[in-house]
Symmetry: C2
Subunit: 161 residues, 2 copies
DNA sequence: CTCCTAAAGTTGAAGCTTCAACTATTATCG
DNA sequence: CGATAATAGTTGAAGCTTCAACTTTAGGAG
């Protein structure tokens, strides 16, 4: 807030911000390009399948899955519909509670297993090839701070006096 | 490549990757939410205007602008059309050469100046509040490596032996 | 000069995400 | 128990991005 007295970025921050914007713009595009080409799906769809494949019984409540996949419930619902249409996921009601599960089918699991190697190789090339162990830990630490701050809240507009 | 012998991620890499995916998914969403609410445009549109506002004569060839804004020429062309419709940008032919300029109008410049404070405050809160100067430099360094690697090429499919 | 090949942009369609409104189900409180 | 509020999820429309095809213009090669 406080549009009359903004905390402008200093030189280091400007540089970091420029680079960070480049990463958050180009990395998703690069991941999508690879996944689209090699597995005929988006990176987000792959990520959803991957999260499910690691969940107990390969199933997760939709709202939980949305949170773990960093998505809105609406976005997730649409995606689950698409994945269900392809036979990779199915919806199941939750007995004795409200809501429903997204369940990874065998075909869905096979699809993840099949797509993983090329994906992992891409991640290595795009991200980890240039980072030693020390930098990898720095990345995780810095990223965690950002995620926490993003979670705290986007809000607090400027309030424009 | 090499799908038969993939270089799997080790524990540190997995952790860093999980966090990085969260950042590249949630940060753009958070930035868009703020810009949409406070300035009625996407973060990408704002970024395009901001890049133009810092260019000599507030103008840039479309393909150059696309590169600086981390976008495809097609995406940029669509966005320039929208920004032109709003009166913030105009297209001008380049004399003695092919292609055309995107030029920031006075109204466009005013819009950037107006939207900047709230945007900067958001960036501070979402990104820099939790990072000391040292971490900011780490972020820039690590990000640069990623951008370079992404530039090198998405390609190189699995190559499937 | 003329052909032609590549660079620069544009455009429409298709697909994905967001937004807001809506349904359904379940706690909670009186 | 019954009303009400809150949680979980769905859905259609609108908007943005991608993809591929197409137009236009410029720099050669012969």
């Amino acid at each position: 807030m406080n549009s009359e007295n903004p905390r402008w970025l200093d030189a280091n921050q400007q540089e970091a911000w420029r680079v960070l914007v480049a990463v958050i713009t180009r990395l998703p595009a690069a991941l999508d390009t690879q996944m689209q080409r090699d597995a005929d799906m988006t990176h987000f769809e792959y990520f959803v399948l991957a999260v499910l494949s690691e969940a107990p019984e390969r199933r997760l409540r939709l709202s939980t899955l949305a949170a773990e996949a960093n998505a809105s419930l609406s976005r997730l619902s649409h995606v689950v519909t698409r994945l269900a249409r392809r036979g990779w996921v199915s919806r199941e009601p939750i007995l004795g509670s409200r809501g429903s599960y997204a369940v990874l089918t065998d075909a869905g699991h096979a699809k993840v297993v099949d797509s993983a190697p090329a994906h992992v190789e891409t991640v290595q090339r795009l991200v980890f090839d240039g980072l030693d162990e020390h930098r990898v830990r720095d990345l995780a630490r810095i990223g965690s701070v950002l995620v926490d701050q993003i979670d705290k809240g986007i809000a607090s507009g400027t309030g424009k006096a």
